[in-house]
């Protein structure tokens, strides 16, 4: 009896193309934001501004636009997703597990969960804001050492590095551990202990 490979029926499809497209949209949105930022930056510099001051001024605008996108219903969702990657993952996961708003209306438990989710969003927002501060600092440091960023991809990779760094710091904090526990627990409290999901 030889069994060279296992292809169990429960194995998922190898790749979710929709996920790829969704992330690609986020990357394209990042490019659009950076294009606008770059345009403002160059305009300001052509007016004779100081690099550091111009960067600071434009970065503040960029930061406000990026962070504000998640709370702005009129903003393209991809803009908000750039920094709510984690919340997006959480929502996808809970949705795939059937953990939506309980049938029969929004219960007190569900309202409690939404409150915790908002606190979670606030923590992510702080982390994203810190990541942009770090990105600004890195751009300053590079400029000071004469290093240039010549491609969108390079800038994107730097942005990812900054987000991972500030997110990682947040993740390891005591506040996050406690909030993560409350997030799970408050969601689970919305459902009966039926042992019926698997």
């Amino acid at each position: 009896m030889t069994d060279q490979t296992e292809t169990p029926s429960a194995a998922p499809n190898p790749f979710d193309t929709e996920l790829l497209i969704k992330q690609a949209r986020s990357y394209l949105a990042f490019g659009e934001q950076m294009s606008a930022f770059s345009s403002q930056l160059h305009d300001s510099l052509q007016g004779g501004g100081d690099w550091g001051a111009v960067l600071r001024q434009n970065f503040d605008q960029f930061k406000a636009a990026t962070i504000g996108a998640a709370g702005d219903a009129s903003a393209a969702p991809e803009h908000g997703q750039l920094w709510t990657q984690m919340l997006d993952l959480w929502r996808q996961s809970t949705s795939s597990l059937g953990l939506g708003a309980p049938a029969g209306g929004e219960t007190e438990a569900w309202q409690g969960y939404l409150q915790v989710q908002n606190q979670y969003l606030d923590l992510l927002r702080q982390s994203a804001s810190s990541a942009l501060d770090l990105l600004e600092q890195q751009l300053h440091d590079r400029a000071a050492s004469g290093k240039s960023i010549d491609s969108l991809r390079e800038l994107y990779n730097l942005w990812v590095d900054c987000n991972e760094k500030t997110y990682g710091q947040m993740l390891r904090g005591l506040d996050y551990s406690e909030l993560n526990g409350r997030l799970f627990n408050s969601l689970l409290q919305c459902y009966p202990k039926g042992e019926t999901r698997s």
């Binding site: 190898p14 490019g31 690099w51 996961s93 795939s96 240039s148 993740l171 799970f184």
Partner: protein, 351 residues
Amino acid sequence: MIGLTPERIAEELRGYSARLTEGVQTLGRIGEIEAGVTARDAVYREDKLTLYRYQPRVEQPHSVPLLIVYALVNRPYMMDIQEDRSMIRGLLDAGVDVYLIDWGYPDANDRRLTLGDYIHRYINHCIDYLRERCQQESVNVLGVCQGGALSLCFSSLYPEKVRNLITMVTPVDFHTPDNVLTHLIRHVNVDLLVDTFGNVPGAMLNFAFLSLSPFRLAGQKYVDLMDIIDDLGALKNFLRMEKWINDSPDQAGEAFRQFAKDFFQQNKLIKGEVVIGERQVDLRNLTMPILNVYATQDHLVPPPASKVLAGLNGSQDYSELSFKGGHIGIYVSARAQREVPPAIAAWLLAR
């Protein structure tokens, strides 16, 4: 200074979009991705468990079999993911007679399975089967990650059945300061989780792993994918890893409850307080030779979480193998193929 101009960005985005279009078409054509490449025979089955023997690649393999006890989370084909990235193949080539427990996919019928069932019944039965089959008093055991913790429990409870024990990226102290998984689960009400779900969904564990590095694992990775979209070999390697990452079995509820509470939350293993089926696990009972393999850049099982075993076991022959890499790289990186299986095999064959 940023040397980027809007025109340059627009050009880059056009190129990316073109590759994306091409990439989606390529991915649609690529078909089934297979993982698990080495020929093997199913030699024993019990409930959803299958014990495989990998077909030897030398004429006279070592007489003492090696049983690989993989984690309950994720699937064991990570150890044999492709021909040039197979720890199992490396062990076979070095003359080791390799067996592996495939736990299968627990379903609702398995939600009452406890760690006692996994250790006293499943692992114990597999080892008794091998002792009988190979006419050996004791066999070699290699426990991987969570499977390493299970192997430590088994070997402590049945030391006479384990000739040599190898633990690989195995958590022993779950409360080292840099243990992010413990950090995430510390305040989760595990009873509520298990009572709600029955079995703990694999998708929930996937979320936990992705949440450790979401910008890289759920974002940048897919942007980077466009760099290899023309390279069919590299693309298939990527998809194999994707398949493995997303192939997360549900966890039997009661076993998960005990593992999460006793190991992660209360760190009972190093305190000698873990009880498996009414028998207490005392790591000082580990008197057999031990090789503890850890990865220096392991973000899931930090080296101190593994290395603490040095001071807790009762063996006169304890040694460590340090691999310069991460939790996954220790199985699939090119360096791992060169370094890890030969070192394990040499250690085993010398005993």
